[in-house]
């Protein structure tokens, strides 16, 4: 699994960390298991995004109603800014669809 992640990460040019959860242990711990929804009836995760602060507390959660709808980078960045207590007039639009947008933006802080 890490091997597949490494190849995919290189192929897509992303800079952030990919973790693999082959037995879906963490997926279960987060109650995100979607039984039989994967290829050949395997269990996968339903899509979900979380923003966690340095104390390990969840500060923002995105659980969509539709499988294809995911958080956009600018939504995560906005949640991050709010978490910092900032009202930042950031041009969220510039991050758009660029891969590595979240990683790049957080590094720029």
């Amino acid at each position: 699994m890490p091997e597949i992640n490494r190849r995919q990460r290189q192929k897509l040019g992303y800079a952030y960390t990919f973790l693999s959860d082959p037995k879906a242990e963490v997926i279960r711990r987060y109650d995100l298991l979607h039984r039989g929804a994967g290829p050949k009836g395997t269990d996968v995760a339903r899509p979900a995004e979380f923003l966690i602060d340095p104390s390990g507390t969840t500060r923002w959660v995105n659980l969509t109603e539709n499988i294809t709808v995911r958080a956009r980078p600018e939504q995560v960045l906005k949640a991050f800014d709010e978490m910092q207590g900032k009202v930042v007039l950031r041009n969220y639009g510039q991050y758009g669809l660029l891969p590595g947008a979240i990683d790049g933006a957080l590094q720029n802080q």
Binding site: P2, T17, S20, Y30, I52, N66, L106
Partner: protein
Amino acid sequence: MLIASMSAGAKKSWNWFLWIGFLFALAGFFSYTFFAQFPITRDFPWANLLLFAVGGILLVLGLFRAFGKPWVYRGKILGPILAILGIFMFGFFSYVFFYVLRQVPPSTGAPRVGQKAPEFTLSDQDGKDVSLRDLTSRSKAVALIFYRGFW
């Protein structure tokens, strides 16, 4: 005699409204994987519904031609067939997008805002162990994205 010579000799026009309408319906049905690349058309299938709408209008116009002026236009048999296929494609697309893709588990046990995110240790892309504590200790925030690995 006049009628006989009309149907024998008159050349009927190709009913292109039917064909183009059907093509639009096909495009509406198959193009979601393309439009899914853009959040605006992925979150709600505006483009696909628009393609189906245009296709539907053309098919209806084509049917009007086929049945309204059958001596001018073809399509009294093909028209209904293409229209039914178009309706079926639209129906199936809507069923998948607005019902099947919404069959998501409730995930009521997922951490909510204010709760501690469950601790874990997993392998990263280089086979190294990474724990949530490692990540939170060296950053202002951690974006944890559970990516459904395919769809």
